[in-house]
Symmetry: D2
Subunit: 138 residues, 4 copies
């Protein structure tokens, strides 16, 4: 089985920049969100559909580092893979690329919960579907 | 009865600016939101409490004009009053002031709905409470 | 000459929703921004390039009406055309469509300014390039 | 000398919530920003003033963990102190408290740069002014 990385393209919006002239550091979290929902969709499961089934995926931890600023109108590739997947916790890793240049790396950690915020297991089928995106030691 | 204007102070956040060096024009809608929830609170009714009672106030129309830019860290006064109040529709008017200078004017129009998005009347007591903020011909 | 409308597709982001379960009304201004910069790009002029030449296009007025809410993950078409174009002022009209359903209409009015915020004329060539998007009486 | 923590009060805005009904995880970065600029102001140096002198403080790393969600209209205390201060790097630590309950912890790491994004030392006087907020082993 080949390990997969999901790539989501995003263009920096004007409203995402700040007076320093680059994308505000909070914008990356929105792009990471696009990355992981894109990965789920590529695996055949929309996050919207999961929520409709009563499964939610709140963020319990995140982190990011920044090597370069992202400018208005830059086209960025949000590369997403799964670092770790346990019965109730999932961690996504992200790389933000502008052409060949890596400008940021980050991660988000989530728990699967039901609509009452109680931890729950992932629905059948989802684990199998997203396993190809699970990193294996790199 | 004296007509009242609610004044809410807000300081421009760094993340609200864009690369033009001023607050992005969408930020004003967040400040208007602070203005009208401040007005409701001053009238003894929190918007949070209204939602808990099943009353919501979605925006059906808005508009704004801009005379000057708002800069990072500027302290702004958001002046809010009620332009018009009908059984199911309410219109708020806003003025954004920096010191003595008016930098923006705007309005938002809302309908009262229940949790199923059906129009509903305002709960008893709320109309009386907010009437002092109703503009009378100026 | 055929009058053109620019169509930009946008998918509602999770972070753009609010606790009412629909896209916050301020999000539409970000989508309108994508619409007009998409129109400029389709006309052969990137807004980024215009700014690099010292031309900026601040918003002096906006307005919008809302017929339906936009939900997370909805795919929306932002239809943009030019309502009016004078030597120093330009007005864009927007329609937000979900499939066949119009969910919002809006406009933004802008002035062309230089980097010192002084009004200026549009660079040569830009007027001609965007004229096909100018509405003619509908 | 007593070690100080700066406390900035913030109320959760409606537009900061998402459809899960709590503040979107990106909102905390905006609140951390209020925390550190509040700390600088309490130390007698506005960040706005530093930028006017040509000193900027971009984020090179951040992280946060979430224990509880923050709801619309919650009043939160953003507690900020300085974890570490080197000649060119500064790290702030944050705790978000709702009453007696800690709902989130986070940090941001920054470099001091000039307007050309070149690393630079902190202006004289600033180091002394903010030293009281430097954590000492707790």
């Amino acid at each position: 089985m080949v390990m997969r990385t999901h790539v989501e393209m995003v263009r920096v919006r004007y409203g995402e920049t700040d007076k320093m002239g680059v994308a505000h550091h909070s914008s990356y979290l929105l792009w990471f969100e696009l990355g992981r929902t894109g990965l789920l969709r590529a695996a055949g499961h929309s996050y919207r559909g999961l929520e409709a089934e009563g499964v939610m995926l709140p963020v319990v931890e995140y982190g990011a580092t920044f090597l370069k600023g992202a400018h208005y109108d830059d086209e960025l590739a949000i590369e997403t893979k799964i670092r770790e997947m346990k019965s109730r916790v999932i961690t996504f890793d992200y790389r933000v690329r502008r052409g060949e240049e890596i400008i940021s790396r980050g991660f988000t950690r989530h728990v699967w919960v039901d609509t009452n915020s109680r931890p729950r297991r992932l629905p059948d089928g989802v684990t199998e579907a997203i396993t190809p995106f699970l990193a294996s030691g790199d």
